[in-house]
């Protein structure tokens, strides 16, 4: 059992100490965090739950609190895909600290060749499926026919708005919007230019193209 004494600290310090303890703990370990205010109790429980671990609190005789955490950790990503929350948290850190940049490029409004109507149906479910990814891409680039997807009237606009509000950068080629006369009806994200498109592709850790 690991004991963390976070008494005398106000938030966010107790959460930081809990996070550090949980990081070095193994699956199934028990961590006891001592705190002296109920706000820290609530925040530590929230943190533990966001990392898919179970946490309970109890009031001690001296009026302080003890938060007991049963640490749940994925041993490896492949073996235990069910512990997604832990991975999510780790991934989040990767994306904020190490700048893991997955870029999805959408060069047309349909997916694949063969039949245009089928292509559009496939594109709709492709974009919907992205919204369900555990780890979202950092950027989505839309150009040529793809520019139509980010404009008013597009069947995937709501999904793209959801992605945008979840932090995915949605960028549409300005030249393309001009070409199609769509500049005034862009429904989500920002307008970009070729320099930025090249730079984003160049900086990407991987590029996905449907």
């Amino acid at each position: 059992m690991i004991t963390v004494d976070a008494r005398g600290f106000e938030c966010p310090k107790p959460v930081i100490l809990t996070k550090d303890a949980m990081r070095s703990a193994k699956n199934g370990d028990r961590i006891e965090v001592l705190v002296d205010n109920d706000i820290a109790v609530s925040n530590i429980i929230k943190y533990a739950q966001s990392a898919n671990s179970i946490a309970i609190s109890q009031l001690e005789d001296d009026g302080s609190f003890k938060v007991i955490i049963s640490v749940a950790k994925a041993e490896t990503k492949v073996e235990k895909p069910i512990d997604t929350q832990v991975e999510k948290e780790e991934e989040l850190e990767v994306s904020t600290h190490q700048q893991d940049k997955t870029v999805i490029v959408i060069p047309c409004d349909g997916m694949g060749d063969g039949n245009e109507e089928l292509g559009r149906i496939l594109m709709k479910s492709f974009i919907f499926a992205i919204t369900n990814l555990e780890v979202l891409p950092s950027t989505m680039l839309f150009y040529n026919g793809g520019a139509k997807l980010t404009c008013e009237g597009s069947v995937v606009l709501e999904d793209l708005k959801n992605l945008s509000s979840s932090g995915v950068e949605i960028l549409t080629c300005g030249t393309c919007l001009d070409f199609f006369g769509l500049k005034d009806v862009l429904g989500v994200g920002e307008v970009t230019n070729m320099y930025s498109i090249v730079e984003i592709m160049d900086n990407a850790t991987r590029i996905i193209r449907p």
């Binding site: 966010p12 959460v15 929230k46 966001s50 994306s95 904020t96 509000s165």
Partner: protein, 318 residues
Amino acid sequence: MGKLPKFTDPNLIVGIETSDDAAIYKINEEVAMIQTLDFFTPIVDDPYMFGAIAASNALSDVWAMGGEPKVALNIVGFPSCLDPEVLGEILRGGADKVKEAGAVLIGGHTIKNDEPQYGLSVSGFVHPEKIWTNAGANVGDVLILTKQIGTGVINTGMKADMSSEKSNKEAEIVMASLNKKAKEVASKYNITSCTDITGFGLLGHSIEMAEGSDLTFEIEADKVPMISDALSLANMGLVPAGTYKNRNYFSGKVDTGKCSENVLDVLFDPQTSGGLLLSLSEEEGKNLLKDLEQAGLDTEFALIGKVVDKDEKSIRLV
């Protein structure tokens, strides 16, 4: 506070009773003076940015009441052990914002203090008939918010080094943006009530407005603009103490519907230098949204709900 003497004056239009942040004193039939003051300790590391945020926050009350700030004075506490250049940067940040506000900064007062503190005392003017109170909303009005919320959560995440550069930057822009432009655009319309979103959070201040108007506000939680990462940081327990205080104090007045915990935390998140919450008729609201778009605000704005008949609760989240 109860032991303090009470002041009455026939020209005092808005005093301490309505728990407004600013007082309004009528000078004549055409002019009333708005008087307000606010200062706090640093919330960001960059001294210039701290000065800019503290000044924006102090100036905001004047716009929230429908007025124009005119004269400002610095309020400064500063430790002798810190480099005076830091103080210079704080004051420069504040002065730039006063300038942008169209007011004049004419000195102030500095004392030695263990911790830096900065803010402004601000005087502004408003026509006595054109004061925006937090008490005049009508059934059918729409509610428009002019800045995204979540600065409290992001500041907590910043202290824990768990928020991203992107959201830190976004929070700084939100906090340092003046409510001037939004107020000027909104002045063209019949604003039925207005407040600025600060310590009580979006829901706390909405409750004050709903109660002041004796009606219920229906707020669509997913339409409320939020700083990126605010929800995920709230989910990870980076929730400031003020949020819990707000939730405890106001929760009996909110029908939370199906709102999840982290969404409620952000809706109750105390804001530093938050946006304006305006109520006006649906028709005018549509035009105001277009005008705000045209004005090119640095912050996100949105129609977040509507005013409905008085219900058991002051706020209904849908």
